[in-house]
Subunit: 317 residues, 2 copies
């Protein structure tokens, strides 16, 4: 099947595509011209795809050939990268991967990052650093961190963001709270009682996203208690400061419990983030192997109706 398409052939495709000429491509590859002809014909027949159009004016790519050319470039580059990384690993030269961890992230995401990294780069050290999201973004910009695990949203185009977890957001309350007696909390029951929040300074974008979601269901919370960590949040809820919203996955103290909010399908989202120009040798390979977020939840906006059928434009690309 696709076994004919070896890397050797990919190199041939690239050379021919770039010289538009079998003869010159063969020179560039230090091969005789008939070799190229034969090999390419055998490939085209073997996989059943015409790759080149041979014309007097030069050799051009068919549509399928264009795609193969783009693939070939990428695949050859990646292979070099991988072999370099393998050599570095073999010599024990992989530098420490410095990862920033925010609190308020899915705890499993740290675990799965470490698993993926350990699987790919066993014996290579990871250094984990705690910190607030804004701090971690700063440190990635100044290159004192290679990557971080952060709560979404992360804005700015310089970040490569890879969504790794999405968990329901639930109301955290004392186990003896009257609300604990029902399965779900009604939004109206939250009004006036939702008071414990994470410190907006530590992640303004996420804080405001939360506020906007609350406004949508008609709650304007007074954030009178600001916590820096999930443990602080629990402590504040325990001391009757008010209710809080937390990630369903976070383990709760024994006298606390949590309930979902009726009708709301909010999530707490965690992402693996690195700077677009970060240069740790493992990053690009690691990123391809991070497990992806799995939850099936979509945040539904209340009260919107299905709009008119949109206009269809047919364009030939």
């Amino acid at each position: 099947m696709s076994d004919l398409l070896e890397f050797r052939l990919l190199k041939f495709i690239v050379a021919i595509a770039e010289t538009a000429n079998f003869t010159r491509a063969s020179e560039r590859l230090f091969l005789a011209q008939p070799t190229l002809s034969q090999q390419v014909i055998a490939l085209e027949e073997g996989i059943g795809v015409q790759i080149f159009v041979r014309r007097r004016e030069g050799v051009s790519l068919t549509p399928a050939g264009q795609m193969l050319y783009a693939y070939a470039q990428e695949a050859l580059e990646l292979r070099d990268e991988v072999v370099s990384a393998a050599r570095a690993m073999d010599r024990g030269e992989i530098p420490v991967l410095r990862v920033g961890l925010s609190s308020f992230i899915n705890p499993d995401s740290v675990q799965s990052l470490r698993q993926a990294y350990t699987r790919l780069f066993p014996d290579s050290p990871i250094q984990m650093t705690g910190g607030h999201p804004v701090q971690l973004l700063d440190r990635m910009e100044e290159r004192s961190l290679d990557a971080a695990i952060l709560p979404l949203p992360v804005s700015g185009a310089n970040w490569v963001v890879s969504h790794v977890a999405s968990d329901p957001l639930v109301v955290c309350m004392r186990a003896d709270d009257p609300l604990a007696s029902s399965r779900e909390v009604q939004p109206s029951e939250l009004a006036g009682r939702l008071k414990v929040f994470r410190d907006p300074e530590t992640h303004p974008a996420a804080h405001h996203r939360l506020m906007e979601m609350l406004l949508e269901i008609g709650i304007r919370p007074e954030a009178s208690c600001l916590a820096a960590t999930p443990a602080d949040i629990q402590m504040m809820v325990q001391s009757r400061c008010g209710l809080a919203l937390i990630d369903e996955r976070i383990a709760l103290a024994s006298d606390l419990t949590s309930r979902p909010i009726a009708g709301a399908r909010w999530t707490s989202d965690t992402a693996f983030v690195h700077h677009r120009s970060a240069n740790h040798i493992a990053l690009s390979i690691l990123l391809r192997h991070l497990p992806k977020a799995k939850q099936t939840q979509t945040r539904r906006m209340p009260g919107r109706q299905r709009a008119l059928k949109p206009i269809q434009l047919e364009l030939m690309a």
Copy 2:
């Protein structure tokens, strides 16, 4: 250099890694055992990387070998995908790519998507459909669209989001507006005058993000004019309804102009989005070749100070 690592060798690596045994791997590959031994030894010596550890209990991977194994699996899978796509193209069987376009996106992103698609899949048709973000997300869920270009943020873990553009947000005003006489607009000058917004119904998340950013600089706007398209926004600004915030890249009518906001570095972000389980044959290949967002801007939060140096934990992975 890396030329020794042909796809054939990748298959050998996978088979040996998965059987933990050269003899059984050779059976699985329908080869004689000495062939495998030889080939792998030649590879290991050739690229200078030890891949396997041969022990009595079985063959195991070195750290570098683990990474090569992970790479091999992925590369072999991708090659099959690419060859299948090439065959489909050769037979003219690539189905139409149905892309949803929201208004309020960077116009260049449509252009660059079409360029990338045309380069990869020449002659394959694209069908562009206009619509509001919520509508487009719905249509992707029900599989009547393959992908969409949307303004960020997009929430929910089912979406594969690829950030493609990030442009400064500026204040749009009449050319004869007094504010047009200075280079920048002070946030205080916006108060009470910022009135034209896109309709929150069309993209609630983006609307609220904008509101939250305005609140940060102390502006609580009355959104008295709600527009469905950038053209409507311009029309409203022309008719003296108020000022608006728009993407710097959008072409303005001749009697309009725009100015940046002093101190704010907000951006309008555009992403290429598709459903995690979308199955158009071109998507995964297209995604790898989309040009990435380039802007160097990070949204800076006002008034935060650098926090204490965080604790460092050293973990051996």
